[in-house]
Each structure stands twice: as structure tokens, then as C-alpha cells.
């Protein structure tokens, strides 16, 4: 860090002296225009998904119209091959896809954080064993591992969530371990060790809060990836099983040539919805990275 930068930082620090950390993060987050738009879009989509039982014009799994009819006044996005309303199914599918993304991320984050904390803090043999195990899991191509697991266990919503959760953690474990290694050398942790503070306090009340920001940023990308993976798995017929709709298995029909050529309303909307959700999450993650990073240089 050069002298000039330091001066600027002091100047900025004085300027925003009266705001707390949360306000700083929010101010920086708003800088990122695309992330702001993404946040609004995501909130809208999430509320539509949550309110699906009230918004959806028809029950999602019931036959309510003729086979594969084009979008019309009654069926905004047409009906599928067996006469279910595509728009209603889309709303429910979004629920499922978001649920998979969030739950899988929650599971993998908990596993990754615990293993990373233990490996980084204790070091030595424990660290070596955990990190080698992480290496092993990371060596298997991710999708292949998920596919094999999906073929072994009975496919279904919770199977997918558990599989993605149990396969996704190595990245977070590595990240947390690296941060813990740095924090362990910091004076406040050393002083707590010397003071004989209980281990639980050091790990969860001192080290963990200081590494929450990078975990949060990483977790947003895991949510996006999990949604993409669920879509790919369900597209291949190994994910969420019909009649339950997910964004991926709604695209499954597009493997047939008739659907692909003659009934675009069946596969175009879920596809674009996946893109919109994933890109919104990615933009938000990017803005969070800039906003949460205390050393960020992007001040204007």
C-alpha cells in the first residue's frame, strides 16, 4: 500500500466516519448498478415463487387444457404435452429450483466451514488428513460424481439436495482453511489462546466472524452453481422427478425434436428463467465481493 493510497483512505475514512459497517457495505453495494437491478429482479422472482399457490392460475400437476396448445388468453404460456398449464408449472418449478440451490448451499457451507475451521486451526496431521480428503473429492469430476450418486440413490428432490450438498463443500473448506491460517497468526487470536479462552469461543466467536465475508461471497456462487447443476441433472432425467416441476425437468421435453421445433413455449421460458436467476445471483455475489472487501480500492 503506497503513501498516496493511505492518504486517500484516511480521507475516505473521515468522510464516512459516521456510518457503521453495514451502511458502508450497503453504500458500496448500491454502486454496482447491475447488482441493484439483479436484487430487484431476484426479490420479484422469489416472491412470485413463494406466492405460487396464490398467483398460479391453475394447479401445477393437473390436466387443465388440451394437449400442447400454444400460448393463449387462458394459458399465458400454453400447455404441455399432457395439458398442464406451463405458466403455473413455471412458478412451482422456480420454488423447487431455488429450494435446491439454497439448501444444497447451506449443507455444503456447514460441512466446508467446519472442516476448514478444524483443518486450519489444529494443523498438523488433522490438517493433512482433511486436506488430502478434500483433494480426493476434488479430483473426481464434479458432474460425474453427482451423476454416479444420482444413479445409485433413488432420484428425487431431497436426494439431489443432499448429493449437491455433500459434493460441493471442498471449495469452501479450502477457503476457510486459508483464512483461518492467516487469522491464527493475528494478535487477537493469539491473546485469546494465551488467556485460555475456550476453544469453542475462539473458533466460533473470534475466527469465524472474521471470515464470514468471503464465505458469503463464495456461497452465492455455490447457490448459482447448484441451480445450474440441478437443471442439468433434471434435464438428463436424474434429478427432480415428474410430476413435480423443476426448471431443469421442464426442459427435459426439449430433447424430442417435435417439442424443440414446434413447441418453443415449452422449453424457452424455463431456460431463460434459469439464466435470469443464475445471472442475478452472480451479479449480487460480485457486488458483495466488492462491498464486503475491506481492502477494496474501488472507491470513488
Amino acid at each position: 500500500m503506497t503513501n498516496h493510497n493511505k492518504k486517500m483512505q484516511i480521507q475516505i475514512a473521515n468522510e464516512y466516519k459516521n456510518e457503521n459497517y453495514r451502511q458502508t457495505v450497503w453504500r458500496r453495494f448500491k454502486h454496482h448498478k447491475l447488482a441493484g437491478i439483479s436484487l430487484i429482479v431476484l426479490v420479484l422472482l422469489c416472491s412470485a415463487a413463494l406466492l405460487a399457490p396464490w398467483i398460479a392460475p391453475y394447479p401445477p400437476d393437473e390436466i387443465v387444457g388440451s394437449f400442447a396448445s400454444a400460448p393463449s388468453k387462458d394459458f399465458w404460456l400454453g400447455t404441455d404435452q399432457i395439458g398442464r398449464d406451463v405458466f403455473s408449472r413455471l412458478l412451482y418449478a422456480m420454488r423447487i429450483s431455488l429450494l435446491v440451490g439454497l439448501m444444497a448451499t447451506l449443507i455444503s457451507t456447514v460441512i466446508g466451514v467446519l472442516l476448514g475451521l478444524i483443518a486450519g486451526y489444529f494443523g498438523g496431521v488433522i490438517d493433512m488428513v482433511i486436506m488430502r480428503f478434500t483433494d480426493m473429492i476434488m479430483s473426481f469430476p464434479y458432474i460425474l460424481l453427482v451423476l454416479v450418486a444420482a444413479s445409485i440413490f433413488k432420484p428425487g428432490l431431497w436426494t439431489i439436495i443432499l448429493i449437491l450438498g455433500f459434493v460441493d463443500w471442498p471449495g469452501i473448506a479450502r477457503l476457510v482453511r486459508g483464512n483461518v491460517l492467516n487469522l491464527r497468526e493475528s494478535n487477537f487470536v493469539k491473546s485469546s489462546i494465551v488467556a485460555g479462552m475456550p476453544l469453542r469461543h475462539i473458533l466460533f466467536s473470534e475466527i469465524l466472524p472474521n471470515t464470514v465475508a468471503p464465505i458469503l461471497v463464495y456461497a452465492t456462487s455455490v447457490v448459482a452453481l447448484s441451480i445450474l447443476d440441478e437443471a442439468a441433472l433434471s434435464f438428463l432425467g436424474m434429478g427432480v422427478q415428474p410430476p413435480t416441476a423443476s426448471l431443469g425437468n421442464m426442459l427435459n421435453g426439449a430433447q424430442s425434436l417435435t417439442v424443440l421445433t414446434k413447441q418453443p413455449w415449452l422449453w424457452v421460458p424455463p431456460g431463460f428463467l434459469i439464466i435470469i436467476v443464475v445471472i442475478a445471483i452472480n451479479f449480487i455475489g460480485d457486488a458483495l465481493r466488492d462491498a464486503l472487501d475491506p481492502t477494496t480500492r474501488k472507491e470513488k
Binding site: R132, M136, P141, I143, L144, V148, T261, I275
Partner: protein, 315 residues
């Protein structure tokens, strides 16, 4: 240097052993192949005879060592469907996959490296914003959906490109035919790779451009072109090496889905049909092979790192 390489190899060995154990354990969890052959027309005695013939009556760890011993002799087992040796099946299918992966990686890098560097050099310009936004789009599109869009556009609407296979059926193929079949799958894989890599290379390059030696080079007044192309680019090799290393597992995975969509006759298509028909020896062989390839890839990346940045050996 040799000491560094040796150390890396020594670290890789337990990981390799662990991979074989995990691979074997997963397959055992998958259930016994005997269940598959059970039916009204097969007697219990036949099942038992098969169990002994396959060595499934022995405890888990003995089965593992028998399997490992066979493996070391180059025997990956036999497919339960076609009864061909798994090794032969893999050898037959790996060519198209390697071709697809290699070309995709090359195209992905050709897209990502110039874009990432341009973006970093012109930080906060309109070009930078468009490149970063596009790269987000690239990494947010599901590969199979992009494939569907491309097939819809180029095969169905325009009729320019074939949508499945590696060569036109009934012909010898030939260079141009294969290239035509490759364009769409390569594009899909390259786009998803470039999406992630552009941002990675951009931020790595930004860090390099703020280093002291770049300021010195600037201060000498040798001009922006020389600074970027001679001083900064050479150091940008490090992030590029990282990117190549990160790509290998991603490519293997991406290829499974993309090969399925485009019916590309490679390892991915073979694996997926093995997965649907529960042909465990084949699945196991492919998993093991890809894990080993990834491991070797990581090892090579580590060594390449040390070549590009000699200070790494000291750490």
C-alpha cells in the same frame, strides 16, 4: 526443482490411493450386480455360482485388494452389458472426447486471454463493462440450454450445421465434416469456460498492473504497448496456467452433458448410457480414469507453476 517435483509426487500418491478406495466404496454402495440378474428364470444356485465366480462372497477389503491387483495389471474389469473389457471400451471412446476437450480448451483460452487482458488494461471503460457482463452471461447459461438454442438456430432454422454425431452417417467423415459437427459442442464448452476465466484473468492482470515493477517500467517511458506486452504479459502466464489446471475437471464434467445433447460418440456418452443401464464396472473405470487424469493435471499445473514462477519452489 527435482526436489520440488518429487515432493509434489509424494503428496499425490496417498491421494491416488484414496481415490481408488472412494471409487470402490461408491460402487459397493451402488449394490451388488447380482441383484440385476435376479429374475424368475434364474435359479438361486446360478446366482450363488455367479457370486463365487465374481468373488463377491469375500469380505469387502479382500474384494478391494483383488480389484486393485487386477487394476495394477491394467485390467479394469468387464462390462456387464457388452462383456467387452472396460479398458478397451474406454480406449475406443476416449479419442473423440479428447478431441472435443482439447479444441474447446484452446478456443476457450483464445477467447478468454485476450478479452481478460483487454478488460484489465482498459479498466472501467465501456469495453471492460461489456466484456465482464458478457462473461457473467457466459458462466450463467446452462450448457445444455445453450446447446438447444444453437441447435434450434443453426440446425432447424438455418440448416447450416448437423446437430448430432461426429461425422455424417455412412460416410468416412473427413476433416471438413468433423469440423462441421464440432462447431456447436465446442462453442458451448468454450463459452462456459471463457465465462469464468475472463474474470479470473482480468483480476489477476489488474493485480499485476499495479505491481511496482510495472510502475518502474512506466516511469522509464517505454510506452504502454511495451509495458503491457513485455512486462505484464509474461507475469500473466501464472494465472493462465492456473486457469488451464482448473479447466480439466470442469471439461470432463461438461463433456458428459454436452456429449449427450449432441450425441458425440465419446466417453461422456458411453458413461451416461452405462449409468442408465447400471453397468458399474464401466462407470467405475471412467470415474477412476478421470480422477487420475485430474490428479495428473493438477500435478502438471503445480510443476508448470514452479517453471513459470521459480519463487514457488521455496515456499
Amino acid at each position: 526443482m527435482i526436489k520440488y517435483i518429487m515432493k509434489r509426487i509424494l503428496i499425490a500418491i496417498p491421494v491416488l490411493i484414496g481415490i481408488t478406495v472412494i471409487d470402490y466404496a461408491i460402487m459397493c454402495m451402488a449394490g451388488s450386480p447380482l441383484e440385476m440378474m435376479q429374475g424368475p428364470r434364474i435359479s438361486e444356485a446360478a446366482v450363488e455360482a455367479k457370486e463365487i465366480a465374481l468373488g463377491l462372497d469375500k469380505p469387502f477389503y479382500i474384494q478391494y485388494f483383488v480389484w486393485l491387483g487386477q487394476l495394477l495389471q491394467g485390467n479394469l474389469g468387464y462390462s456387464m452389458k457388452s462383456f467387452l473389457p472396460v479398458g478397451t471400451m474406454i480406449a475406443e471412446h476416449i479419442g473423440p472426447t479428447l478431441l472435443l476437450m482439447g479444441v474447446s480448451m484452446l478456443v476457450g483460452l483464445l477467447l478468454a486471454v485476450p478479452a481478460g487482458i483487454y478488460s484489465a488494461v482498459h479498466q472501467y471503460s465501456k469495453g471492460d463493462y461489456s466484456i465482464v457482463t458478457l462473461s457473467f452471461l457466459g458462466s450463467s447459461i446452462p450448457g445444455f440450454f445453450l446447446s438447444l438454442l444453437l441447435i434450434y438456430l443453426f440446425t432447424i432454422k438455418l440448416g447450416w450445421l448437423p446437430s448430432s454425431g461426429m461425422m455424417t452417417l455412412g460416410t468416412e467423415g473427413g476433416f471438413i465434416d468433423i469440423v462441421q459437427h464440432m462447431i456447436m459442442p465446442v462453442l458451448v464448452l468454450a463459452v462456459s469456460m471463457a465465462g469464468t476465466n475472463i474474470r479470473y484473468i482480468r483480476s489477476a492482470m489488474l493485480e499485476i498492473l499495479q505491481a511496482d515493477y510495472i510502475r518502474t517500467a512506466r516511469a522509464k517511458g517505454i510506452g504502454r504497448f511495451l509495458v503491457v506486452h513485455k512486462h505484464a504479459l509474461r507475469n500473466a502466464l501464472i494465472p493462465i496456467v492456473t486457469v488451464i489446471g482448473m479447466q480439466i475437471p470442469m471439461l470432463f464434467g461438461g463433456a458428459v452433458v454436452i456429449e449427450q445433447v449432441f450425441s458425440w460418440p465419446g466417453l461422456g456418452l458411453m458413461t451416461l448410457s452405462a449409468i442408465t443401464s447400471r453397468d458399474y464396472p464401466v462407470i467405475m473405470g471412467v470415474c477412476l480414469l478421470s480422477a487420475v487424469v485430474v490428479l495428473i493435471g493438477n500435478l502438471l499445473t503445480d510443476i508448470l507453476y514452479a517453471v513459470v514462477d521459480p519463487t514457488i519452489q521455496m515456499q
